[in-house]
């Protein structure tokens, strides 16, 4: 019993990280139709900035917010300066984001070197609470809580606000949205920045959870893509559902069949794609 509860809890907390990571990518993909290879770079920069800012300010929450905002700003600049120049050409966008990802990877190596870092969160992150005989680490609770709050805010934004309605309109038909007098270029920039913000946030939380090191950007990218592919591009609810399924599968996979744990992550993707090429909640 304890094994199952613990593993399920670990799976859900891992899913929270996966959602933060994949949620931003699914927004970017849904609105902009960009295969954003630089998404892992946002995570990496967020993580490194988080480590540096925690060391400088001593406050985890200040570092978390500041890092996420800086990454969001960087995303906005990237979109405005580079991506807009190649709008509408999938392959060029992909090449461009690949170049940016390589550049960021090397720049991080230059600035922070090759050693791994661990982000030191508040002291209570290493403690845990006991509920009904089960122990729950506070760091993992924080991951679940922040992902839950962000999902709720984003969902409310997308479904209940005027700006959210514009985003949904742009996902469905960008040309028609533009014709209605909505400034789609600004919308795209904002969505790209929001996606970057989520990835930067995930980077800070993730480096408190499992550290940060060179090459991590390309290592976590598959997870972001799997969340988007299984959940369906552009669907936040889909990303959450996919993150939960994958987080649980991955955790139980690792605990029960360590050698082939990678399959437990990618097999669902293959199965989903075989039946629904646009993902569980995706619309063609």
């Amino acid at each position: 019993m304890e094994f199952w509860v613990n593993q399920a809890f670990n799976g859900v907390s891992y899913a929270a990280l996966l959602f933060l990571l994949g949620g931003g990518l699914t927004l970017i993909f849904g609105v902009m139709k960009v295969v954003n290879i630089a998404h892992g770079s946002f995570y990496l920069v967020g993580g490194y900035l988080g480590v540096a800012l925690v060391a400088a300010t001593g406050n985890f929450y200040v570092a978390l917010l500041a890092s996420a905002l800086v990454v969001a700003l960087g995303g906005a600049v990237l979109e405005r300066v580079f991506l807009r120049a190649v709008e509408g050409d999938d392959l060029r966008q992909m090449l461009l984001t690949m170049g940016i990802a390589l550049f960021v990877q090397d720049a991080c190596l230059l600035v922070w070197g090759g050693d791994p870092f661990n982000l030191r969160g508040p002291a209570y992150f290493s403690q845990s609470v006991k509920v009904a005989g089960f122990t729950f680490p506070i760091l993992r609770l924080f991951m679940i809580g922040s992902a839950g709050v962000l999902f709720a805010v984003l969902w409310w934004f997308q479904e209940r606000t005027r700006a959210g309605a514009m985003v949904r309109a742009a996902v469905d038909n960008a040309e028609m949205t533009e014709a209605l007098g909505i400034n789609v270029p600004i919308l795209r920039m904002a969505v790209f920045a929001l996606g970057a913000l989520l990835a930067g946030f995930a980077g800070v939380v993730g480096s408190a959870f499992m550290g940060i090191y060179p090459g991590l950007d390309f290592e976590i990218l598959p997870y972001a893509f799997v969340v988007v592919i299984v959940g369906g591009m552009g669907s936040l609810g889909g990303a959450l559902a996919a993150a939960l399924v994958l987080g649980l599968l991955d955790n139980f996979g690792k605990a029960l069949f360590p050698e082939i744990s990678y399959f437990t992550l990618f097999a669902p993707m293959g199965i989903v794609l075989a039946f629904r090429p646009t993902g569980l909640f995706g619309r063609a």
Partner: protein, 314 residues
């Protein structure tokens, strides 16, 4: 086949023949470092050309080409180091397995089109990396498979040094190139171009579009298997970096730098990128940034490649 009917292909064949003769005659007088680079360039040229069959000629922007390259490389490395397989056996097995894997995955990836196709083939590349990294009992995980010896062919001492191996690669490259040209100029190749330009038109005309795309993926996978097999021999080591994202994207970059949908573009692109990477890494540690700049410049200013630029300025 109407190759002889138009003048251009014959001129192209003559031109390629001259270039091939050049790169066959020159190496003995070149520094061995350059010969090693040329060997690598030829191997990547096979892979890039096969990717262009998809990307440039069929309009299938596959980002997962390194997966089939890696199948070839790992097959050869495993067969040669653990089972002492001969050159011929390793090569044929690599081709067959890469084509088979490509055929299996094609069923999955062909369900998607356009940007979804890119996304899914990218996921294929990432999964292949994951397998190479995690399936330790087969692939050696992070350590990879080390100590792949140069091939031994009776009568020719391929193990003897850089030159004999270079000629072996060159011979295989020439064979691949000939097959590739025949393929592109065949009715099959023309149909692929038709599918790229208008899938619905080809469907209305009665072509089996799915089958053509499927075969294109299998053939490209087989060629990537050849390149992968040679790479294992060339490098002597096969690890997860053979199949990582950067490697997969590099094939795409090679095709686009040279010029997608042109016959010689990918070959030029493969040489340019190989030489750029290796030459720059001699001068500066920051060669990754130079490679990154190559991506950005290509994306922003040369989406039709060097041959495309050449045509535009004429």
């Amino acid at each position: 086949m109407d190759v002889a009917a138009t003048g251009a292909p014959m001129r192209l064949v003559a031109g390629l023949g001259i270039v091939l003769a050049g790169i066959a005659v020159l190496p003995p007088v070149l520094p061995s470092y350059v010969v090693i680079l040329m060997t690598e360039g030829l191997i990547y040229a096979i892979a890039a050309a096969s990717l262009d069959l998809l990307l440039g000629f069929t309009g299938l922007p596959s980002l997962g080409h390194s997966a089939f390259f890696a199948v070839g490389a790992y097959t050869t490395a495993i067969l040669v180091t653990y089972h002492q397989a001969s050159f011929a056996v390793a090569l044929v097995a690599s081709i067959a397995l890469a084509a088979a894997v490509s055929g299996g995955l094609a069923i999955l990836v062909l369900r998607a089109t356009g940007i979804y196709f890119m996304m899914i083939t990218l996921a294929v590349a990432l999964c292949a990396w994951g397998l190479a990294y995690r399936w330790v009992s087969l692939t050696g995980g992070d350590t990879g498979i080390v100590g792949v010896p140069r091939p031994r062919v009776p009568g020719i001492g391929l193990a003897a040094g850089t030159l004999p191996f270079y000629y072996a690669v060159l011979a295989l490259f020439a064979i691949c190139l000939a097959l590739y040209l025949l393929l592109i100029w065949s009715p099959f190749g023309k149909t692929l171009v038709g599918i790229r330009d208008s899938e619905s038109r080809m469907r209305v005309l009665g072509y089996n579009v799915y089958l053509h795309k499927y075969l294109a993926l299998v053939i490209a996978g087989a060629f990537a298997g050849v390149a992968g097999s040679l790479y294992a021999y060339y490098n002597g080591f096969v690890g997860p970096n053979t199949v990582d994202l950067a490697h997969s994207m590099q094939f795409v970059l090679m095709v686009i730098v040279g010029g997608p949908g042109t016959l010689v573009g990918p070959l030029i692109g493969a040489f340019v990128i190989t030489f750029l990477e290796k030459m720059v890494s001699v001068f500066t540690e920051r060669w990754v940034m130079v490679l990154a700049a190559a991506y950005v410049v290509t994306a922003l200013w040369a989406p039709r490649g060097m041959l495309g630029l050449l045509r535009a300025t004429r």
